[in-house]
Amino acid sequence: MFAQLLREDRVIIDLKAKDKEEVLQELLSVLNLKPEQEKIVLEQLKKREAIGSTGVGRGVAIPHTRSVVVDDVQLVVGVSKGGIDFQSLDGKPVHLFFLLIAPPQDLGARYLITLGEIANVARKVVSTKEYLNFETSKELMEYLMKIYREA
């Protein structure tokens, strides 16, 4: 799933956002949702963060939610070179974001499968922070794909 969802135009190598809300918005913007849909999804993401940060620690966050307004599973990857305070479990700033949105009902539990795959990729990339060094979306995408394919 991860490999199918990862797209060059949905990989941001240098996020401009400075805080939590801005980064959610910046990640969402590449999905080109209608303003009304974007507003609903943003609200939902914020609600999800309010119940517990999706900053999972070691510089990674996986903001995610489900909404009727998206018709398929959507993934956006973003890197913040400066890091963003995301109220993570370990208190550290977040540099790598995986935004995942899916409809409430998706056939074959693709959302949960993708979330598991993202977690595996995240576990592998946190130690080196190599993901901070790429100049283009394509390079970062290829790097993540390589990590994903490594057993």
Binding site: A50, G52, L112, L115
Partner: protein, 121 residues
């Protein structure tokens, strides 16, 4: 957008998220450093339930009851209409309804399965 439709969409999301929290797969994925305990998760579930209650309180009771009945029957209360087709029962909506320029401004249901609908396009 119709404010009640907006609330139903929020409710549907919260219900889906509550179901996610019940899955071990989900908990493992959002706990990559293994630092969140079961207690943390149960606190988060409680907060999610509070948010859900807030939405429920602001909905007209008849609409909430109907939503609940739909969820019992179809495991969802709101479905998108994609390209004129209800995603719950796959019925094609009449073209006069599909071609309307303004949608989601009032609360609508599928004439076939009765689900609350959200027009995606």
């Amino acid at each position: 957008m119709d404010p009640i439709l907006e609330m139903l969409i929020a409710l549907e999301s919260l219900d889906a998220e509550l179901e996610d929290f019940e899955s071990e797969e989900y908990r493992n994925s959002i706990n990559i450093t293994q630092s969140a305990s079961d207690e943390v998760f149960s606190q988060q579930i409680d907060k999610l339930k509070e948010l859900r209650e807030e939405v429920v309180r602001s909905l007209p009771i008849a609409i909430y009851k109907r939503y609940q009945r739909l969820r019992e029957k179809y495991k969802r209360g709101v479905a998108p209409v994609v390209n004129g087709i209800c995603a719950n029962c796959f019925m094609e909506f009449p073209s006069a309804l599909v071609s309307r320029p303004v949608k989601n401004k009032s609360l609508e249901t599928c004439p076939n399965c009765g689900i609350y609908v959200y027009w995606t396009k």
